[in-house]
C-alpha cells in the first residue's frame, strides 16, 4: 500500500494568495494512499525541506508530492532532500501550482479545486513511480574533428589545449580550407595566410592532435562518449615517413597542366603535388586519375628521381578504426557551380569569375603573384564589375537565403582592386549592403568613400561578351531604375555560399539533421547553436550556414568548449528518464514484435536491433533495444509502438494513464 506525503507550499503569497493551501492539504490528506499532508509557507527553505525529510522518516513515506512552483527550479532541491531522507529521488514529483494555477487564476473556490485536482493527479502518478538510478556512460576522451579549415583547426587546437586527444580528418591533401585561399581578410585587411599558417603548423605539431589528411570518414557507430569511427586514409602513393617534402618530384612530374583546385582553376599543378607552398602536411600526394603512370602504365619519373625512395605506387587505401568520445563537424561550405548563371555567362566567359577566383588573383601567392590580371588574356582590367547576391536571395534559383559574407568580401575585393590598380574603376551592383559586425559598416564606407568604388543599387540582368569586353546590363534603382550599361574588362560574381559537396551523405552518416539547403542543423537556433540533435556531435563553421572567419572561429571554440565539458568527467551521468523496451519470459522474451517502425522515428538514433538466439546461436527473435547512452526520453517511439512494448521511465504508460484518470476524477 502506497504511503504518499503531500507538501503544499504557499510560495510566500505566490500560491496562497489565490489558493486555499490549507484546504488543499486537508482534502488531499483524505485521498487513498496519502499518509501525510501538510502546507507550509516556504517548502524550499531549510525548515520546509526538514519537514519533508522528517515526514519521510516518521511516516515511512513511499512517495512525495511537492505542490509548489515550476520543477525547472526546485525539482532538484526536493529530490535531493528526499534522497537525504533515504527516499529514492525519483519517487518525488512536483506539481506546479504556481504557474499552472495560482498565477493564472483569480482567488476562489474553483482555483482551489483546480489545485486539488493537480495534486490528486500527481498523487496517483507517484503511487506508480519507481525507484530509478542515474545512468552512467563511460566517456572516451578523444575528439574527432572533421574538416581542417579554420573552424576545424580552431576546434582541434582548443580541445587539444585542454589536454584531450584529437583526431583531425581532412579530405584534401592539406588542411587550411577556404581561408588558406584568401588574399586578405575583412575588415582589417590582414593577410589570410599569415594568420592561418601558424595555426596549421600548430595542428601538425601538437602532441595531442593526430592529423589524417587526404582521408574521409567511412562510417560512424555508437553514441555519445562511445563512438566507433572508421576512417579511410586514401592512398597518397607517397610514404609519409620516408618523404622529406623536398619537392623534387613535383618539379619533375611531366604532367604540368592539371588545373589547380587551390588556385580555383586559375593555375596549374603536376600530378604529384602539394596543393600550396604552406600546405600542412607539406608532403605531396599522387593524383591517380591524372598520373601518367596510373593511366598509361609507364613514367615512374618521380619514383626514379626521389632521393629518399618514398614513392609507393602500390599503396592502397587504409581503413582505420578509432574510438571517439565526441565529434566536431567542421566541413565548411562551397560556392555555386558555374552552370548556375547562363544570363551572366558564368562558366562561359573566362573573365566572368567568382569571388574565390578573385581571391587567388589578389593573393601574393596566387597565379598572378597578386597582380589583378584577367584570366582570358592576362590584361590588367581597367573596369571591373562586382555583382553581389549572385545566386543568393534568389528564390527562382532555389537559394532564398542571404549568404552573409558576400557584401563584406565584395567591398574588400573592390578595395583590393583599387589598391592594386589605382586608375581602374570598380563597380559594385548590390541589392542591400549587409554589414552588421564590428567595423564592418565602416569598412564598406571606406570602399565607397576612400577607394571610390562605384556602388550601384540594382541587380545585373545580363552580361555578354563583345570585342573583348564584357557588357554588363544593369539598372540603377535609385535613379528611377535607369538602365546602366558598363563595358567591363572583368566581372566578379559574389556567388552564393552553398552546402559542401556530399553534405547530405555526411549528415546521414552521422545522423545529424540538415535543412532544405543541406546545411547541418543545430539543435536549437538560439540556445544550442553548436550542438546537433545527436548527442556528442557538434558543429563548427560554415557547414551550418555561410559565415565569416570570426564567426567560424567563435563557433569552433564554442564546440570545443562543449567537447571539453563532456570530457571533464570520466563518466557521463544521464537522467534515467529514458525509454525501455519491455522484457518478459520466453518464448516471447518481449512483447516487441521487431517491426522496427520505432527505429525509423527515433530522432536520436537510439534504437538498435537486438537478436535473441538460442543456445546453439540460432536466431529466435529480433527485438528493438534502446541505447541508454543515446536516448533522450522524447517518447516518440512510445507513441508509435503499436504493441505498447516501450515505456519511458518516469512517464510510463501506467503513470500517464493513471494521471489522466485522476484528472477526470476516475482514478483507481
Amino acid at each position: 500500500m502506497a504511503r504518499i506525503g503531500v507538501f503544499i507550499c504557499h510560495c510566500g503569497e505566490n500560491i496562497s494568495a489565490t489558493v486555499d493551501c490549507g484546504k488543499v492539504a486537508e482534502v488531499t490528506s483524505r485521498l487513498p494512499g496519502v499518509a501525510y499532508s501538510t502546507d507550509y509557507k516556504y517548502m524550499c527553505s531549510d525548515p520546509g525541506q526538514t519537514k519533508i525529510k522528517d515526514a519521510i522518516r516518521e511516516f515511512h513515506l513511499t512517495g512525495v508530492v511537492v505542490a509548489a512552483c515550476s520543477p525547472r527550479m526546485h525539482e532538484p532541491t526536493f529530490r535531493k532532500a528526499c534522497a537525504e531522507a533515504g527516499l529514492n529521488p525519483y519517487l518525488c514529483e512536483m506539481s506546479n501550482l504556481r504557474e499552472h494555477c495560482s498565477w493564472v487564476h483569480p482567488k476562489g473556490d474553483v482555483t482551489t479545486e483546480k489545485a486539488i485536482d493537480l495534486v490528486r493527479t500527481l498523487v496517483e502518478k507517484v503511487k506508480k513511480n519507481e525507484s530509478l538510478m542515474p545512468i552512467k556512460v563511460p566517456v572516451t576522451k578523444t575528439a574527432l574533428v572533421i574538416g581542417g579549415g579554420v573552424a576545424g583547426i580552431q576546434a582541434a587546437l582548443d580541445i587539444a589545449n585542454c589536454g584531450h586527444k584529437v583526431i583531425m580528418v581532412e579530405r584534401d591533401p592539406s588542411i587550411g580550407g577556404h581561408m588558406s585561399q584568401l588574399s586578405e581578410t575583412f575588415p582589417t585587411l590582414d593577410c589570410s595566410q599569415c594568420i592561418l599558417t601558424p595555426r596549421m603548423v600548430e595542428v601538425a605539431q601538437h602532441p595531442n592532435i593526430t592529423l589524417y589528411s587526404y582521408s574521409e570518414v567511412e562510417s560512424v557507430e555508437g553514441f555519445i562518449g562511445n563512438f566507433k569511427v572508421k576512417i579511410r586514409k586514401k592512398a597518397k602513393c607517397v610514404d609519409e615517413k620516408d618523404c622529406t617534402g623536398c619537392g623534387l618530384c613535383t618539379t619533375l612530374c611531366p604532367q604540368k597542366k592539371i588545373p589547380s583546385e587551390f588556385e580555383q582553376g586559375l593555375g596549374f599543378r603536376p600530378a604529384i603535388y602539394v596543393p600550396f607552398p604552406q600546405a600542412v602536411p607539406n608532403k605531396p600526394v599522387i593524383d591517380k586519375p591524372n598520373c601518367t603512370y596510373f593511366q598509361k602504365g609507364k613514367c615512374r619519373i618521380c619514383e626514379i628521381k626521389c632521393p629518399t625512395k618514398a614513392i609507393r605506387f602500390d599503396q592502397q587505401d587504409e581503413i582505420l578504426e578509432v574510438e571517439i568520445g565526441a565529434i566536431v563537424l567542421a566541413t565548411g561550405f562551397n560556392i555555386l557551380k558555374t552552370d548556375f548563371f547562363p544570363e551572366y555567362g558564368y562558366g562561359k566567359f573566362k573573365d566572368v569569375i567568382d569571388g574565390l577566383q578573385f581571391e587567388r588573383l589578389a593573393s601574393a601567392s596566387g597565379p598572378t603573384l597578386g597582380e589583378i590580371r584577367r584570366p582570358s588574356d592576362g590584361k590588367v582590367p581597367e573596369k571591373i564589375v562586382f555583382v553581389a547576391c549572385a545566386g543568393s536571395r534568389d528564390p527562382a534559383k532555389g537559394i532564398p537565403y542571404c549568404s552573409k559574407i558576400c557584401c563584406m568580401y565584395t567591398a574588400k575585393h573592390a578595395m583590393l582592386y583599387k589598391h592594386k590598380v589605382h586608375e581602374g574603376n570598380a563597380y559594385v551592383f548590390y541589392m542591400d549592403i549587409r554589414a552588421g559586425g564590428k567595423m564592418y559598416e565602416e569598412f564598406v564606407r571606406r570602399a565607397i568613400e576612400e577607394d571610390h568604388a562605384h556602388y550601384i543599387r540594382g541587380r545585373v540582368s545580363r552580361i555578354y561578351e563583345k570585342n573583348g569586353k564584357l557588357i554588363v546590363k544593369g539598372a540603377d534603382t535609385l535613379l528611377n531604375s535607369m538602365p546602366v550599361e558598363i563595358e567591363a574588362d572583368m566581372v566578379v560574381l559574389a556567388t552564393a555560399g552553398v552546402a559542401n559537396d556530399g553534405a547530405e551523405e555526411l549528415a546521414q552518416k552521422f545522423h545529424v539533421s540538415y535543412d532544405g539547403y543541406k546545411f547541418f542543423a543545430e539543435a536549437h537556433p538560439k540556445l544550442r547553436p553548436v550542438e546537433t540533435n545527436t548527442a556528442g556531435i557538434f558543429l563548427a563553421g560554415a557547414c551550418q550556414a555561410p559565415k565569416d572567419i570570426p564567426d567560424s572561429v567563435a563557433m569552433a571554440s564554442g564546440a570545443a568548449s562543449k567537447v571539453a565539458a563532456l570530457f571533464s568527467n570520466d563518466e557521463l551521468t544521464r537522467e534515467p528518464l529514458i525509454a525501455e523496451v519491455n522484457r518478459c519470459a520466453p518464448p516471447l522474451f518481449s512483447t516487441c514484435t521487431g517491426c522496427f517502425l520505432c527505429q525509423l522515428v527515433c530522432p536520436y538514433n537510439a534504437i538498435e536491433r537486438e537478436q535473441i538466439t538460442d543456445r546453439s546461436g540460432k536466431l529466435i527473435k529480433e527485438l528493438a533495444k534502446i541505447n541508454p547512452g543515446l536516448c533522450q526520453g522524447c517518447g516518440t517511439c512510445v507513441a508509435l509502438c503499436k504493441s505498447k512494448s516501450i515505456d519511458i521511465h518516469g512517464y510510463t504508460n501506467a503513470q500517464v494513464h493513471t494521471e489522466v484518470l485522476a484528472l477526470l476524477n476516475e482514478y483507481a
Binding site: 580550407g177 566541413t331 561550405f333 562561359k348
Partner: protein, 304 residues
C-alpha cells in the same frame, strides 16, 4: 506521317515565303501538314494587351478546332502564335474555372490535350533524324541564329531549350553544314508588335541585333518567327538609319536554310520575297584553328 498545322495569319501574307519553305521542307521529309480547319487569328499581342478573355478565347478556338479534327500534335511555325497557344493551353489547364468560362465563350468543348510544337522542335524531332544523305549543298555560312523572345519565354510554360542560351537552332545549322556564330543577341527582343505603331523603337532594338550579328562576322541571320523576320528584314532601312551603318546581312528562315542545303531553288523557298537580298557569302577559309586549351573543369575542393 501526318502533323497538325497552324500557319497563322502572317504566313498567308507578309511571310508567305516562310510557309512556302516549311511546306517544301516537310514535303522533302514526307511530313503531311494537316491545317487546323477554319482556323482563326490567335489574337497576337493586341488581344492580350487589351483583353485577357479574348486573348485566351481566340487561341482556345484554334485548339478546340484542332481537337475536333483529331489533331494530337500541332506544328506552329510562327513563334508568336506558338507562344500564345502554348500559354493559353497552360493557363486553361491550370485553372478549371477559367477553362469553363472559355468553353462557354466558345460554345465548344475544349480539353487541352493537343501537344504543340514549334518549328525547331519539329525539325529536331522529324527532320534531323532523317537528314542523312539529303544534304546536297552544305550550308557553308557563318550564321547568327536568332531565337527571339517568344520561342523560349516564359520558360516555365514552353519548356523549350535553355532560355538564356538556346542551342537547338545552332545545332540544326551545324547539321546542315553551317557554322553558328557565338553572339549576344540570340534572345533579345526585336520590338515585335510595335513594328508599325512605334517604329523607332523597333529600329533601335532590331538594329542592335543586326549590328551584333554583323560585328561577329555573320553572313546570314537565321530566324524562326515571321515577326522577327519582319523587323530584321523589312525594317532594315530604319535600323540602318538608326545605326548609321549599312548592314546588308540577309535574314532567312530556318526552313529556308534547310531548303538551301537540300538543294532547293530560291524560288521554291521564296527567297526572292525578302527585302534584304539573299546573297549568301561563303564562309572564309580559316587559318588552321588554334587548338583550344583543354576545357578546365573547375572543381571547388573543400575541406574533408
Amino acid at each position: 506521317m501526318k502533323l497538325g498545322f497552324y500557319p497563322g495569319c502572317s504566313m498567308k501574307g507578309g511571310s508567305r515565303e516562310y510557309k512556302e519553305s516549311v511546306a517544301a521542307v516537310c514535303k522533302a521529309f514526307d511530313i503531311e501538314l494537316v491545317e487546323v480547319p477554319d482556323w482563326n487569328c490567335c489574337g497576337a499581342t493586341a488581344a492580350h494587351n487589351l483583353n485577357k478573355e479574348l486573348a485566351l478565347s481566340l487561341p482556345a478556338r484554334i485548339l478546340a478546332q484542332a481537337e475536333k479534327a483529331g489533331l494530337s500534335e500541332i506544328l506552329i511555325p510562327c513563334a508568336a502564335c506558338y507562344n500564345r497557344l502554348s500559354v493559353t493551353q497552360h493557363e486553361l489547364n491550370e485553372n478549371d474555372k477559367l477553362k469553363e468560362r472559355v468553353k462557354s465563350i466558345l460554345g465548344m468543348d475544349y480539353q487541352g490535350t493537343s501537344s504543340i510544337i514549334n518549328i525547331i522542335q519539329m525539325i529536331d524531332k522529324y527532320v534531323l533524324p532523317n537528314l542523312d544523305g539529303k544534304v546536297v549543298k552544305s550550308f557553308n555560312h557563318l550564321a547568327a541564329c536568332y531565337y527571339g523572345c517568344l520561342l523560349v519565354r516564359p520558360h516555365g510554360i514552353l519548356k523549350f531549350d535553355r532560355p538564356e542560351d538556346p542551342v537547338t537552332m545552332d545545332n540544326v545549322i551545324r547539321k546542315i553544314g553551317g557554322s553558328p556564330v557565338e553572339w549576344a543577341y540570340k534572345v533579345e527582343c526585336c520590338g515585335a508588335g510595335l513594328s508599325v505603331s512605334k517604329t523607332e523603337a523597333v529600329a533601335r532594338l532590331s538594329g542592335k541585333i543586326v549590328e551584333d550579328a554583323a560585328d561577329r562576322g555573320s553572313q546570314v541571320i537565321v530566324v524562326a518567327c515571321p515577326m522577327c523576320h519582319l523587323n530584321l528584314d523589312m525594317r532594315r532601312p530604319e535600323s540602318n538609319k538608326y545605326l548609321k551603318r549599312n548592314i546588308d546581312i540577309p535574314v532567312i528562315y530556318i526552313t529556308q536554310a534547310i531548303g538551301i542545303a537540300l538543294g532547293m531553288s530560291g524560288k521554291e523557298l521564296g527567297l526572292q520575297r525578302h527585302f534584304v537580298p539573299v546573297i549568301l557569302k561563303e564562309k572564309p577559309e580559316e587559318p588552321a584553328p588554334v587548338k583550344p586549351a583543354k576545357k578546365v573543369v573547375q572543381t571547388q575542393e573543400m575541406e574533408a
